[in-house]
Symmetry: C2
Subunit: 154 residues, 2 copies
Amino acid sequence: MGVEIERKFLLKNSDWKKQVDTVIHIQQGYLCSDKERTVRIRVSGERAWITIKGESIGMSRAEFEYEIPFEEGSSLIGLCEKPIIDKKRYIVKTNEVTWEIDEFAGLNSGLTIAEVELESEEKTFDLPDWLGKEVTGDPKYYNSSLIKNPFTKW
Amino acid sequence: MGVEIERKFLLKNSDWKKQVDTVIHIQQGYLCSDKERTVRIRVSGERAWITIKGESIGMSRAEFEYEIPFEEGSSLIGLCEKPIIDKKRYIVKTNEVTWEIDEFAGLNSGLTIAEVELESEEKTFDLPDWLGKEVTGDPKYYNSSLIKNPFTKW
């Protein structure tokens, strides 16, 4: 078990695209998307994971993650609540931290979110110019909310 | 992934107790107890598992099970929907099959269910004299239902 501490931001423009290190394709679904707990199946490349998260308290929430066989991950995606989240994740490294910038497809097309994982809630770092409004803790932007209320319907 | 094929029965009397092979204590909770899918955390002895099951079709349902570290299993039990199922499982071996007889505690005290896992829905075997009514497929007896509507409230 770990505790996940993260901050989330919208993007002001696409200047971050010049700094992209790697890009991966992610498909993920939720077996459970309650406020109190989520159970996520994620498939990316040839790998798959099951991830359980507790309720968010500020920037933090309990997180348990287990890698599972890829074929089983693909079958489990089929058991998930619909729709499935489909997104491209761009990795952007700055001096201090690593940004994961998710560009959503399908019913969430048009939405892009930058996330950074931190070692502590107190950790400080410079915010790149391309970041927009901070949306940390706003339930509307949780991936588990985006299956119930996708961006194209906002 | 596997497909779980099982039949469930109530017990007519306690004659089965004379044939018990082993007994284990099980605590289990549900991160998700929907009709379409369940996500179960089980802790027994020094071991723990996460198990995902699909919707039941007749005697069968898809099942995915992963062993997880015991300490994480105990923490995950804390994230589950309340109440937690607490039961003693007695193993009774007959010539042809292995029976798992669950004696429930807590809010489900008084309920005892015998289950047998089969290789195929067509598998035949002699039913021991101590078996009562068959309850295969009756949602009321699912462990995931017994947290919402426990036996002592029937």
